[in-house]
Amino acid sequence: MQSLFQTYLTLGFEHIADLKGYDHILFIIALCAIYKLSEWRKVVILATAFTLGHSATLALAALDIIPINAEWIEFLIPVTILATALYNVVVHRFSREMDEGTFDRRMNLNYFFAAGFGLIHGMGFSNFFRAMVMPGEHAQLVKQLFAFNIGVEVGQLLIIACVLAASYIAFNLGKIKQREWNLFISGGAAANALVIALERWPG
């Protein structure tokens, strides 16, 4: 037996870390592809930007302030992954390349991507959240929303840790260059996102 908080925290975590609905995982993998472990601070800013975006739309949709068209949102989620992956491939053109494939990302477009795309993913979370939110005053909506968000956040950080750890192994043990790694991960994410987008084509 759990508290309401623990239950919705679990649901939030399981929702983002669910391998059967891995689109959010894929987005986070794509976001992290141009970073290495030593740049974890940037990734944390990135994750925070994504969180700000998805928390905003999740709350607005859960409180019935904005309407959601589930079909379009489910289609747009893989589009955000595709856009992020494509951006990763051309990012070096926007930034001065430092040594060893590290980019001086003065434009930091990525943070805006993360926040803006977070808005779309939040609307996706809201489809799920609305299905499981408890009715009535007994189970305060805000508490469930907050717990769900924390769960999503923990899941998100776990995914980031896995991706950065994998890239660390690739760079240090696999002797893979960062640009190669980026192209490999972004290419895989883009191909996969394209398949999902086509499958979810609205109409």
Partner: protein, 163 residues
């Protein structure tokens, strides 16, 4: 290699369908009754009822079959049980209504004339035989702001709570 990743993911399927039901079980001290509101998705429920009753029931629509409610009640009595202080208690089916978005149905159940129990066991396996990932959330609310939530699934079909 990228192609391999695509196939690997494609095998899992990108569907983000989720299978979840929710129920509030509360003790109403004024009426001395345990009252349950339960939300189930209509398409999931139709899929479950189809296993024993092959015809479509058109639950909560104009075309709803007259026997639909009986089947629903029968199904729920097999899958949703409450045991109060060690005694299994049958509930009455008070009625149902479509949810606001018309995708689900709210079912209302009641155990009348009962004292507030000292312990309660909740067993809720609805839809788990249809979907492996079915989750049934049950929120219990008792006088004095005592609230608990349980998340039931195929591996965890029931919970006992001592109040």
């Amino acid at each position: 290699m990228n192609l391999l990743i695509v196939f690997l993911f494609a095998a899992w399927g990108p569907a983000h369908a989720f299978h979840v039901s929710k129920a509030v079980v509360e003790y109403n001290p004024g009426e001395q009754a345990i009252q349950v509101s339960m939300h189930l998705f209509l398409d999931d429920l139709e899929a479950a009822l189809k296993r024993t009753h092959p015809e479509l029931l058109y639950l909560c629509s104009d075309k709803e079959k007259p026997e639909a409610e009986t089947y629903l009640k029968e199904y729920l009595s097999q899958h949703f049980r409450l045991v109060l202080d060690g005694q299994p208690k049958a509930w009455n089916f008070l009625g149902k209504e479509p949810s606001e978005d018309l995708q689900g149905v709210w079912c209302y159940l009641e155990i009348p004339k009962t004292k507030a129990p000292k312990s309660i066991r909740v067993l809720h396996t609805a839809l788990m035989e249809v979907f492996d990932d079915q989750k049934n959330i049950v929120h219990l609310s008792f006088p004095g702001n005592r609230e608990w939530t349980c998340l039931l699934s195929k591996d965890h079909k029931e919970e006992t709570l001592t109040l």
